[in-house]
């Protein structure tokens, strides 16, 4: 009697939460469309810049002393390490100039311009820039000085991919002091929402795989990196259109999910391996896949070639094509997933399996089929999310570990094993990470995500949308 009553109360409560989360989703989607338009080209927070210097022999140039003049007028010194990399903490995102200390350059080579002036794009951290030394390069000593206004060095900000952000950065540099708190906040909110939507896309699969199979998939981050590398392969190596790359990541991600389930997880379920064992298997898979990516695409950070000219710009704000398109794709896919779960038979069956596997099987639902669909769908969504994250920032073989951390924070915040919790959690995590950079160093924004996760576990361990009995 008591349990039945509880069940009824529980199910009405669940239905309300379900409607609530759908409404929230629609609201956030709307916000996303509008806010995405005001994503910044530059802002007042600092970002980490990693300068890679390559010699004429295309080997890294070590022990080169550089001075970076950033948009805030600071001069920051650095020296490249054995990999030719120097890490510089810019006090302000935007336009910057890299000055070389000619005495420390390898003999006979120099940069094309001293200083090399480029610009950061948005407040994504870290940012990367590669400078190649050539035989006919500049070898005259230049004393580092704070950057002049863009008009004074009109030729400088012409270096390829960063040109778009360059103009925005210059604008922001001159008006940095007048940037109001609200302007900053709204720009943070927009970048946070964009990234949160992409995280949400990736986390739905993680959450669904958990609720249908009980597997806490530690290799899910690698599904996301897989999508990013597929997009890189299609757009970067085969020089095909970006839309083909995104669709390719979707399809191949789905195939990868299917293959994983078919070759590994289904046989393991048949063997009746314990859940903890399967979890450790996923850890091993994550390690192996990560280094397979490194084996194929190398250990360096790659970026998908894209036109970085602003397509939407007003005031000092510039939005790249893929910033806009990425948000729209994410929202469209999320709405489609919502419709799938609400209105199709398979979608409803998936929710039933996620809720109670035994009961679903008893009502005639083919649990194996649903599990397969979840793996394919989860893989496809993670693949698209990976491709879009690849366009949004850069991609690297080991990015999956970091993404996994954010996905875990998202599903814990939303409620482990709930369908929509992951999305709600992801958007909150994305927002919190970017907004927090107004007060904490940009490189520590992941710590913020982690702290949110720990606080949630302390205060409401079942997550925002989770049920108490799930936490065991």
């Amino acid at each position: 009697m008591r349990t039945a009553r509880q069940g009824i109360i529980c199910s009405t409560y669940r239905r309300r939460l379900w409607h609530l989360s759908l409404a929230l989703l629609a609201f956030l989607a709307l916000c996303g469309t509008f806010q995405a338009r005001s994503a910044p080209g530059a802002n007042a927070a600092g970002v980490q810049l990693i300068v890679t210097v390559t010699g004429a022999d295309s080997k890294p140039a070590a022990k080169v002393a550089i001075t970076v003049a950033d948009a805030a007028g600071q001069l920051i010194k650095g020296t490249t390490d054995a990999d030719g990399k120097a890490t510089i903490a810019l006090t302000e995102s935007g336009r910057y100039g890299v000055y070389f200390d000619v005495a420390t350059l390898p003999s006979g080579v120099g940069p094309a311009a001293n200083p090399t002036v480029r610009a950061t794009t948005g407040n994504i951290s870290p940012q990367f820039t590669a400078i190649t030394l050539t035989a006919g390069g500049v070898r005259t000593e230049v004393t580092p000085a704070p950057l002049a206004a863009p008009s004074a060095t009109g030729t400088a900000s012409s270096t390829g991919s960063a040109a778009a952000g360059g103009e925005a950065g210059g604008g922001s540099a001159s008006s940095a002091d007048s940037t109001s708190f609200l302007d900053q906040l709204s720009s943070k909110i927009s970048t946070g929402l964009t990234f949160g939507l992409l995280l949400g896309l990736a986390s739905i699969g993680l959450s669904l795989i958990y609720s249908t199979t009980g597997l806490n998939n530690f290799a899910h981050g690698e599904l996301v990196t897989f999508g990013a590398f597929m997009a890189y392969m299609i757009a970067g190596q085969w020089n095909l259109n970006g839309w083909i790359a995104i669709s390719g990541a979707l399809v191949l991600g789905g195939c990868f999910g299917y293959l994983q389930d078919f070759l590994l997880w289904r046989p393991l379920r048949k063997r009746r391996l314990g859940m903890m064992q399967i979890m450790i298997v996923s850890i091993g898979l994550s390690l192996a896949l990560r280094y397979v990516f490194a084996f194929i695409w190398g250990p360096d950070r790659l970026s998908i070639p894209a036109n970085n000219d602003p397509v939407v710009s007003f005031g000092s704000v510039n939005l790249r094509y893929w910033d806009v398109v990425g948000s729209i794709i994410a929202i469209v896919l999320l709405v489609l997933v919502a419709l799938f779960f609400s209105f199709t038979r398979t979608g409803k069956a998936t929710r039933a399996v996620a809720d109670n596997k035994a009961l679903a099987a008893a009502t005639g639902i083919n649990v194996e089929r649903i599990t397969r669909i979840v793996w394919v769908g989860g893989g496809a969504l993670a693949g698209v999310a990976g491709a879009l994250i690849g366009y949004y920032q850069t991609l690297q073989w080991n990015a999956g570990a970091l993404i996994l951390l954010l996905l875990f924070a998202s599903v814990t915040l939303g409620g482990l094993g709930t369908t929509w919790g992951a999305l709600v959690g992801a958007i909150i995590i994305g927002l919190a990470m970017d907004v927090s950079t107004m007060w904490v160093p940009t490189s520590l924004k992941y710590v913020v995500a982690m702290l949110i996760m720990i606080i949630v576990l302390l205060v409401r361990p079942q997550g925002l949308l989770g049920r108490k009995q799930r936490i065991g």
């Binding site: 192996a288 280094y291 084996f295 190398g298 875990f408 160093p441 520590l444 996760m453 361990p461």
Partner: protein, 330 residues
């Protein structure tokens, strides 16, 4: 043909790295093998022990024993921070929070803002403790040639000292854990591993026992971190997730619920890594494998990942483990 890797593999069997990884795996055996805690952040305990030790010596300038204590305190505090929110919850939460916390520790350690303290991505290579440590060395200068020759191996005075200290600590920790697991305390934590509710029904405070096990294993890993950086300085890679995955592989090689399994597991693991590296290097240099040197370095990690999967699927009790002692629920 360069077959020097065979002798390298032999000397690696007794190297300080092997000892440090064996020690950290003993800590992991306390967590997972005996108590059933899914800790995927063991590298963070090593990193915290190492960083606290190094910072205590370099920045604060504490004497050596206080530095050691500082590292241990760091590991204890970290264990409490991890345990309080997660140990009351299901195993999944601990596994997620620990792996996330390990990444956070690494990010904080390499963040440019903290470079004066932690050395950023370059790590900390010059230590003041180096001299204090060398001064403790009671071994006399070798009579001739500057090396001690032990069978096929030759060690300098400092190397020999490191080696003896590392293995002494490993043996002490192994005996301590072996004894503890035969004590009433050990029976309770093994009971928790088998059936938490049953132990709770006996009136035991399960949370407190789990916390004690987490702290104990964490401190052992913290000491392992200190031993690991002692001969060569601190590289922030120690806190990477691959370190944790190595430890899990070692644990399953030797057997999760054994004390001497981690030691043998660590020896097998490192020797196998060096032999595969050597073989891959041989094949690459003889142009039998169409891969670059960098790719050759990645093969070992792919093999470790696959090895971990295969071990867990087909031999979860490890080489020396007892199948009845292998805890996997479900």
């Amino acid at each position: 043909m360069d077959f020097s890797f065979i002798s390298q593999a032999l000397s690696q069997l007794f190297a300080p790295d092997t000892a440090a990884f064996a020690l950290a795996t003993i800590g992991l055996a306390v967590h997972f093998g005996y108590t059933g805690l899914m800790n995927f952040g063991q590298s963070a305990f090593m990193a915290i022990g190492a960083y606290f030790f190094a910072i205590g010596s370099r920045t604060i300038g504490m004497p050596l024993p206080l530095c050691l204590l500082f590292g241990v305190v760091g590991a204890v505090v970290f264990a409490l921070l991890l345990g309080i929110p997660t140990l009351r919850l299901r195993a999944d939460y601990l596994s997620m929070v620990t792996i996330a916390a390990a990444e956070i520790v690494r990010y904080v350690a390499i963040t440019p803002e903290l470079t004066p303290l932690t050395g950023g991505q370059g790590g900390l290579t010059s230590f003041d403790y180096g001299n204090a440590w060398a001064a403790l060395n009671p071994i006399p200068e070798p009579a001739s040639g500057g090396f001690y020759i032990l069978g096929p191996f030759s060690y300098s005075r400092d190397d020999l000292f490191n080696l003896i200290v590392c293995w002494a600590v490993v043996v002490i920790a192994a005996l301590l854990v072996w004894g503890l697991m035969r004590s009433p305390w050990g029976r309770v934590v093994r009971g928790i591993r088998e059936d938490e509710d049953a132990v709770r029904a006996l009136g035991k405070n399960v949370f407190a026992y789990k916390m004690q096990a987490l702290v104990l294993g964490g401190v052992i890993a913290g000491v392992a971190g200190m031993l690991y950086i002692m001969p060569k300085g601190l590289n922030p890679d120690i806190g990477g997730t691959q370190t944790t995955f190595f430890l899990w592989t070692i644990l399953f090689l030797g057997g999760a619920a054994t004390v001497f399994g981690p030691i043998v597991g660590s020896m097998i693991f490192w020797a196998t890594l060096i032999i595969t590296d050597g073989l891959v290097g041989l094949l690459t240099s003889a142009d039998l494998l169409p891969i670059s040197g960098i790719q050759g370095g990645q093969i070992r990690f792919i093999l470790v990942g696959i090895g971990l999967m295969v071990l867990v699927i087909f031999r979860p009790q490890g080489i020396f483990g007892n199948k009845a002692e292998t805890y996997f629920n479900g």
